[in-house]
């Protein structure tokens, strides 16, 4: 006879205490940094309408009909939800909205890849402001967030959609869209062939190929307005957050085109050595809110938390400033143990009564209660509770 299924449904998994504790530490650092820059939290629901504005291919969405017959989707990203929310709740707001989120997103993955269908994403959206200072603000916030989480060696590659469009100037709108779609999918050979067929002249094609397929960095002809914009944005970001290197973590890279259709201006990805996917991605998306009926400039980024966690783990990171967990073994007088627990917790010391089966990587300090003022440590030495409290709290 088979019992009930114990494993969660495909693509979902249980996060056990050690991992959860590390994820909560990341969430704290991220949230504190966002707050330091004036970003306030918001929480859209995990279920959204299955509209066509979603940036993820239909076959990667987890959709279902609810009991009203409405087609709904487990949100594949939060940015689209924030855009919808802003269009509804802040339609008449005139100033800047600085919004932050930390929550689960859901994507369908091929069954055989063992990939997850749910993960946490942290991010911000700066809505209602355009210009280089706003771009620099978000870029610097990403750099500072990663550093405050403990990832000090990430680089942030910064590209510019306007500059890519400039390289394709001369193509009609339809051909430009097709070329950009191919570039976003990584099909550079096809994109350049399409650009050539669309009438891009030889020298322009050679320049586009050189910049997009090989060199990256900043195009050699620095007189383009977008080139100056990109350089200035990075300079401003350095003012806001220089990092510990001389140039900061920012690297101009025109060859960068993230696989999301809604970007219109600067785009960026954070890379960490040894992690095979970007640990964060973002950019300016001035037209997304228009699709919800409220034209409003906007820029933001999202951090897939498991990738940041992986990058931190690989760099040897552990949760900082964790106090140990005291496990109290009661004597015959149970009440004495309860009073000792109360006294230690009043000093901010974590206490569990009795044995602990899962300590989630916390250091354990086993103490045996002698009476309500005295405990015995693992080596059998008797110590006053006050002294233990002072030592552990210090």
């Amino acid at each position: 006879m088979t019992g009930p299924a114990l494993a969660p449904p495909r693509g979902f998994r249980d996060i056990l205490p050690l991992e959860a504790r590390e994820l909560r530490a990341i969430e704290r650092s991220v949230g504190e940094t966002f707050a330091l820059h004036g970003y306030v939290p918001l929480e859209p629901p995990v279920v959204e309408h299955a509209s066509s504005t979603l940036p993820v291919r239909a076959d990667r969405l987890i959709r279902f009909l609810d009991r009203d017959g409405a087609l709904v989707v487990l949100r594949p990203d939060v940015t689209t939800a924030v855009a919808r929310l802003v269009a509804q709740r802040y339609a008449t707001a005139s100033g800047a909205l600085r919004l932050a989120y930390f929550g689960a997103v859901f994507r369908e993955e091929p069954a055989m890849l063992g990939a997850e269908r749910q993960h946490d994403q942290a991010g911000v959206e700066l809505v209602g402001v355009s210009g280089l200072v706003a771009d620099a603000e978000v870029l610097a916030l990403l750099a500072e967030t990663l550093a405050r989480c403990g990832l000090t060696r990430a680089t942030i590659e910064v590209g510019h959609l306007g500059l890519v469009r400039r390289l394709l100037a001369g193509l009609d709108a339809g051909a430009t869209d097709e070329v950009l779609a191919a570039l976003r999918a990584g099909r550079v050979v096809e994109a350049l062939a399409r650009a050539g067929a669309g009438g891009l002249d030889g020298p322009s094609l050679a320049r586009a190929r050189h910049v997009l397929a090989a060199r990256g960095g900043m195009p050699a002809d620095a007189d383009l307005p977008e080139t100056a914009e990109l350089a200035e944005t990075i300079a401003l970001a350095r003012e806001l957050y220089p990092g510990d290197g001389s140039d900061g973590p920012y690297v101009a890279n025109v060859g960068l085109l993230p696989d999301l259709p809604y970007y219109t201006g600067i785009v960026f990805e954070a890379l960490s050595e040894g992690v095979r996917y970007p640990v964060a991605a973002g950019g300016r998306y001035d037209e997304l809110l228009l699709s919800f009926g409220t034209p409003r400039p906007a820029i933001g980024f999202a951090i897939p938390v498991p990738r940041l966690h992986l990058a931190l783990y690989q760099s040897g990171w552990r949760v900082a400033d964790e106090r140990p967990l005291v496990t109290l073994r009661p004597s015959r007088d149970v009440r004495a143990a309860l009073r000792v627990a109360r006294a230690l917790r009043a000093k901010g010391i974590a206490v569990a009564l009795g044995d602990v089966a899962e300590h989630a990587g916390l250091e354990l300090v086993p103490l045996e209660v002698v009476d309500e003022r005295t405990v015995r440590d693992a080596s059998g030495r008797r110590t006053p509770v006050d002294l233990v409290a002072a030592r552990l709290a210090g």
Binding site: A185, G186, A213, A214, G216, N253, G255, L271
Partner: protein
Amino acid sequence: MRPLRFALAQGLLLSPALEAVRAIGLETPDRAADDRRLVVRAGAIDFVFARPSDIATYVERGAADLGIVGQDVLMESATRVLDLVDLGFGSCRFVVAAPTSALERSLDEYRHLGSLEVATKYPRVAREHFERRGIPVEIVKVAGSVEVAPRVGLADWIVDLVATGATLRANELSVVEEIATCTARLVANPTSFHARRAEIEPIVERLAGRTAVVAS
């Protein structure tokens, strides 16, 4: 930082791929035909030898930074890699083929029964092609010798990769239509491409330059 990893497909593409790598001035691994080693250092690069269909996976997941692989593999696996340079060699075609003698009968069957059976080793390429054409088909996935499928009644048509067409002719099949022409491609992992541009750029530039020269 670990050495740059360059994955090469074993099989038909291996010798032209090694020749291309040598032609742009890189050291190539000194490896006899019966060498069982799958990762071989040459100069500053680790060359990884793998099955063609695995190259795209290696590069997509960053186990290799660069790879040389047939476009046919990229199309069938739908992996997310940067397809950077058309290397020009290893040319072959994805085609739809049907028994030379029974083409009219299969079309008649399609009109009456509304659907065709198509045998192939490349179900994704086949499905996407017939979806684009608006023809309902039932895809029959086989692991090899697809040419035999119409003869034994497994399927009406086949979708296969052909280089010269000799195998088709030997099995009395003719091309109904061409789906795509495929060549060998230089592909890169997107993250490696951005993070290790200084090492990758000259390889891309020289391979692109060589292809332009060979083609003209």
